[in-house]
């Protein structure tokens, strides 16, 4: 789909502002919490103080009696199990009979203000029977269930362990032969401690229920005394009977007679990154006709994967609004953001990697236990991703992974930027560094030797098209002065390298269907204005800008003529959401299709007018031009007038769906499949304070193959943001919990931005972005993802740089000062604290 050369572009590839940048910089953007509706109530959620307990009873009468309280809901009123992955629906909007972590939602209230809502929460009496909790994933694995160690969830089959979400074991190639033919084998254990997203905007949602007038529909309509908005019992009856028939594993409540759904329209504003999935689940769980549910996604203040599934507050504002008959807003506290979590899983990993004497990989064997927390979330996918996404950019003749995700009584883990593949990438790239060191080969050279090439298949049969990984390695090697400085910097200072790959969207949606993954509708009119209705979710990454650039480029209008309307399920086509780095690739292609349909009409109309072939009409820079004689031109507005006169009102839709032949046909082979892969290489430079263990990361050079940089400013922003985030996870971030010897087991260690430390601007390294463009054959103008891939190598590059600096390997994250200090002390005691030996052959490029 790359039909133009860079020189032909007027907007694409040039440094442009974000279309929403000024509004955000000037405080004009209206985030969800900035919205206040007339008569709006404020909601709060009561949370469990126990890590594991049965709910024996909930008495909400005192809360309901409090003046100013308009509605109270409990889990039983929304007892429809859901989960963002349809195969693992294991949670409820509010707990029904059991709480599974400290912070699990139990009841919600709506009141005239937040203080009254908080007071109402204090008046709700919940009787709990505490159950033995489990926090350690290995203990959870060994559990036999029963009263002493009850499973977190019912086993899916008799005899299974109810603490296991998913087991994936896949093997490709001949592992034994691979290891037999190895001259060097490294095997080590790694621990990637969990981290959370820490978006600056806490989750927020507003529900608005507009009930139909009595008698308008056959369903039970709201009217005073017979199920009016305030009639709790009527709503309760309905909501308990609302389970869809196809929900086979619908929990342990007895269904009552199916009642017709309440009639009316529900609108939910939410700081979500998946309006479509939220739309589906709201409709399903609240028993509403999806055609009468509307989800609006205002500008989002950061998400990073932490807003990519429905959360309790979104269901609660819906049902509370229905019960109260007034709009309801819930804004999480920062503490609640830490409890809702869905952040990066702790991974306990063992990596055995073999190579020949000349550094070629022979076999990779990975064992991983994923500590999933209380619910499945995206965990099924995470379990696959933990292995499936490791197989590029290096050739591996044999590969096996064995990954098990377990439940523990902690906030649920889910997807965070680089979902499921950041942790294994850390372990694997450190193992490559070990092999390079053992063989005395330059680690960049070792990576080059194992490069898989472009237009190929991975060992697990994923189709790889464009691949600019070698250029990425070249770029960081050159920019960092690698050949002069690796292993030669003074003791305490070091350089490290790592590489990675990531998907440009998942090939399949999370619920099976044949419909497009992404779509836009474009309208143009006689004013010259181009209106793009985009289903995608702008979460700060620039998707609104991206479609504006493409529409402006194709239709030849100035960027200011393009208006992007996005994030409203009532008037934008369906897009699956801002996750898995899918939007530029998929929405971009959809946008090109729609824009090109309109462009054809405009060119045809102008060609008629000029009496020339349509192929000679160019649209660019606000003009329609005659290609053979560009002195002949008309303003684009006049071209649109000609087109509107000729064809009538001008609108077009475009959509994108993935190619279906890009993966193997084994079970799970579709997971990890993507229409295109991005590639990244980092070199990090560190300064280790050998007295304190403090690691200062001075610089990170990031080279990323994004296919084509539609706007280099945004690509660099994503590269810098990714490297920053990875750096934070490497050095300081950890979502951990107290144990029985420290206060109370299962209690979040530090649910605040004071104590959950993310790097400040003073801590942040100097980041150098080096864009590599491989021009993907299927990406929009050749573009691929840039939002998540560039995070991956940050952590292993820093780990490898620490080794270069002081000769010490630390296989457990984060590299916080106490941990590094201990490693340094151990090495000092063992006499091993020294600059490691240099490779025999730091080769210059000309020798390769």
């Amino acid at each position: 789909m790359a039909e133009k050369a860079q020189s032909d572009f007027t907007i694409v590839g040039t440094r442009q502002r974000k279309v929403d940048g000024l509004a955000k910089a000037m405080g004009r953007a209206r985030y969800t919490d900035d919205i206040a509706l007339p008569d709006m109530l404020h909601g709060k959620i009561l949370r469990s103080p126990h890590p594991h307990a049965r709910i024996l009873s909930i008495d909400t009468s005192a809360a309901e009696a409090l003046e100013g309280v308009h509605a109270v809901v409990t889990g039983r009123e929304m007892a429809v199990p859901y989960g963002v992955i349809p195969w693992t629906p294991d949670e409820y909007p509010l707990c029904v009979d059991r709480v599974r972590y400290i912070g699990d939602g139990v009841a919600a209230v709506a009141a005239i203000d937040e203080d009254t809502a908080n007071e109402a929460l204090r008046r709700i009496r919940v009787e709990y029977e505490e159950l033995p909790p489990v926090f350690d994933p290995f203990e959870a694995l060994e559990s036999k269930g029963g009263d002493d160690a009850p499973y977190l969830h019912e086993p899916r089959k008799p005899g299974w362990n109810g603490n296991i979400t998913k087991v994936v074991k896949l093997e490709f190639g001949d592992l034994e032969e691979g290891f037999r033919g190895s001259d060097v084998i490294v095997e080590h254990d790694f621990l990637f401690e969990g981290t959370t997203h820490a978006p600056i905007e806490p989750h927020c949602a507003i529900g608005l229920w507009e009930a139909d007038p009595p008698g308008r529909h056959e369903g039970v309509a709201f009217s005073e005394g017979s199920g009016g908005p305030g009639d709790t019992e009527a709503i309760l009856r309905r909501s308990r009977g609302m389970e869809p028939k196809d929900q086979s594993d619908r929990g342990d409540l007895d269904g009552e007679g199916q009642l017709p759904p309440p009639a009316g329209q529900l609108t939910v504003w939410s700081s979500t990154q998946v309006p479509h999935y939220l739309h589906r689940e709201l409709s399903r769980v609240l028993g509403l006709d999806p055609a009468r549910v509307r989800v609006i996604q205002p500008p989002v203040g950061g998400a990073f994967g932490g807003k990519s599934e429905p959360f309790d507050l979104e269901f609660c504002v819906g049902l509370l609004a229905m019960k109260a008959g007034r709009p309801v807003k819930i804004l999480y506290t920062r503490e609640e953001v830490f409890y809702s979590h869905r952040g990066r899983h702790p991974f306990h990993m063992k990596y055995r990697v073999g190579a020949t004497r000349d550094g070629r990989l022979t076999a990779v064997d990975a064992h991983t236990v994923l500590d999933g927390g209380a619910y499945a979330s995206f965990g099924l996918v995470t379990t696959y991703y933990s292995g499936q996404l490791l197989t590029a950019p290096y050739q591996m003749p044999a590969y096996r992974f064995d990954s098990t995700r377990v439940y523990t009584n902690k906030p649920a883990c889910g997807p965070k930027r680089g979902h499921g593949s950041v942790q294994p990438r850390f372990a694997f790239e450190v193992q490559l560094d070990r092999i390079a060191h053992e063989l005395r080969i330059d680690p960049i050279e070792l990576r080059r030797r194992n490069f898989m090439g472009s237009d190929t298949r991975t060992v697990n049969e994923l189709r790889v098209t464009s691949n600019g990984f070698l250029e990425c390695l070249d770029a960081v090697e050159e920019a960092s002065g690698w050949r002069e400085r690796f292993r030669t910097l003074p003791f305490g200072r070091g350089l490290g390298v790592a590489g990675s790959t990531y998907i440009s969207g998942t090939n399949y949606p999370i619920y099976p269907n044949d419909m497009p993954q992404s779509a836009v509708q474009i309208q143009i009119d006689r004013s010259g204005r181009v209106a793009v209705f985009s289903g995608a979710s702008e979460i700060g990454q620039g998707t609104d800008s991206m479609v504006a650039y493409l529409a402006a480029e194709e239709l030849g209008v100035p960027l200011e003529y393009v208006r992007v309307m996005a994030g409203d399920t009532d008037f934008t086509p369906v897009d699956l959401g801002a996750y898995s780095s899918r939007v530029t690739f998929m929405l971009g292609n959809a946008c090109l299709e729609a824009a090109r349909k309109l462009k054809a009409k405009v060119r045809e109309a102008v060609a008629d007018h000029w009496e020339c072939p349509a192929g000679q009409v160019l649209l660019a820079g606000g003009w329609a031009l005659h290609a053979p004689d560009t002195g002949r031109k008309m303003p684009i507005r006049e071209a649109f007038v000609l087109a509107e006169s000729r064809f009538g009102t001008l609108g077009a839709v475009g959509s994108y769906n993935t190619p279906k032949d890009v993966h193997g046909d084994y079970r799970g082979g579709t997971i990890g499949a993507s229409p295109a892969y991005s590639f990244t290489a980092h070199v990090a430079e560190v300064d280790v304070d050998v007295e304190t263990g403090q690691v200062r990361v001075d610089r990170i050079w990031v080279a990323h193959d994004c296919g084509r940089a539609l706007n280099p400013v945004l690509v660099e922003g994503q590269m810098e943001g990714s490297a920053y985030m990875g750096f934070g996870e490497a050095i300081m971030e950890e979502q951990v919990y107290k144990d029985a010897d420290h206060g109370r087991a299962g209690l979040h260690n530090a649910p605040s931005l004071l104590d959950y430390r993310i790097p400040t601007s003073l801590d942040t390294p100097e980041l150098t972005s080096l864009i590599v463009e491989s021009i993907d054959p299927e990406g929009p103008y050749g573009a691929k993802e840039a939002g998540e891939g560039p995070l991956h190598p940050a952590i292993p590059a820093i780990a490898n740089a620490i080794f270069d600096a002081v000769g010490v390997r630390i296989d457990r994250l984060p590299f916080s000062p106490p941990r590094v200090w201990r490693a340094l002390e151990d090495a000092r005691a063992g006499g091993e604290l020294a600059k490691p030996a240099a490779p025999n052959d730091i080769r210059t490029k000309s020798e390769l």
């Binding site: 103080p49 937040e114 920062r334 503490e335």
Partner: protein, 342 residues
């Protein structure tokens, strides 16, 4: 968002008026200046005063002045409501007590320093991982000795709260024998900062709850003084270069003879227990000696042996203990740094 408990906000125009308001409302009232400590603590329901007495805008509590004393020395007088930013940037402070400017500049982040005051820093509540948390969190914990509970989760024995004194400026002030002027219902009094703190994490100050700190007074030796000028040093251990409270802070001061040999030496460490701790028995190692590497090593090592960090922070106490000599040596290095020669 976490909500503040309801309160009445008083804006007295004089210290007297402020003190009267505090006396009138007793335990229901608290003074507030920048609010950077108190407001989050109120949101966490650690304090729920129904009356807040704002002292930030009282004219008598401002100003950083240097005035000549009769004995040929000077007195640096810092109004308690001066912000930490203004202390950090003050020419007089930077010239006469650079360690104080450095300490003030190391507190929290820029926004906090623009609001928070030197008086507030002297009144900073002690901090602990089991205490500086929301009401929900503390309820799930079962509360703690310092607030609403009966168990100390740090020591798990005893009835003494060990929440950590976590203010950066007091140790510096202590090493130079600064004093604070307090005003209460009984009138004014001055107290050495060294005597301001007590070893009780629940309320670690000699300041009565109805007293206000007016000023911080620091004596600066005159040019003719036989003992020579005072040099000061400060070093802080934290994980990030901004925002974080100290995991450990060491302040030192010294006077040297013209040959660079130590005449007086004083060191304070904080961030560990409920009050800053004096590093003792340094004189025998250093008096009459130049601060050679060997002397610095001996002083640091002795400091390390005197300190036992606790699990009141989320950061490994064993590492923090090992860092005492390291940070001490870095603070001592300030004393002989060329920048200090002025």
């Amino acid at each position: 968002m976490l909500r503040l408990p309801p309160y009445t906000y008083h804006r007295p125009r004089t210290v007297r008026e402020a003190v009267e308001l505090l006396a009138e409302h007793g335990t229901e009232a608290m003074p507030i200046a920048g609010g950077t400590d108190l407001v989050p603590n109120m949101k966490h329901r650690l304090f729920t005063p129904t009356h807040l007495v704002a002292v930030g805008g009282i004219p008598g509590l401002g100003g950083i002045d240097l005035r000549a004393l009769d004995d040929g020395g000077w007195e640096l007088s810092i109004g308690a409501a001066e912000t930490l930013a203004s202390v950090a940037e003050s020419t007089a402070v930077r010239q006469h007590l650079p360690a104080l400017a450095k300490a003030a500049a190391h507190i929290a982040g820029p926004q906090h320093r623009n609001r928070g005051t030197i008086g507030g820093n002297l009144c900073l509540d002690t901090r602990c991982t089991y205490y500086n948390q929301t009401e929900f969190w503390r309820e799930a914990l079962g509360y703690c000795l310092k607030k609403d509970g009966s168990v100390c989760h740090v020591t798990r024995v005893g009835a003494k709260c060990v929440a950590a004194h976590s203010a950066d400026t007091p140790p510096v002030l202590m090493t130079v024998d600064a004093r604070v002027e307090l005003e209460g219902p009984e009138g004014r009094r001055t107290l050495p900062v060294r005597e301001l703190f007590v070893a009780d994490g629940i309320w670690n100050s000699q300041r009565a709850s109805d007293e206000i700190i007016n000023r911080v007074l620091i004596r600066i030796p005159g040019p003719e003084e036989a003992l020579g000028p005072i040099r000061s040093g400060y070093a802080k251990l934290r994980q990030r270069d901004s925002i974080d409270f100290p995991l450990l802070t060491v302040a030192v001061s010294a006077r040297f003879d013209p040959e660079g040999r130590v005449r007086q030496l004083s060191g304070m460490v904080t961030g560990l227990g409920s009050r800053p701790r004096e590093l003792t028995r340094w004189e025998e190692l250093a008096t009459g000696e130049p601060l050679t590497d060997e002397v610095l090593e001996a002083l640091s090592e002795r400091a390390g042996r005197q300190c036992t960090p606790l699990e009141n922070h989320i950061v490994d106490p064993e590492w923090r203990k090992a860092m005492v000599p390291v940070i001490t040596r870095r603070a001592l290095a300030d004393l002989t740094a060329p920048a200090h020669a002025s």
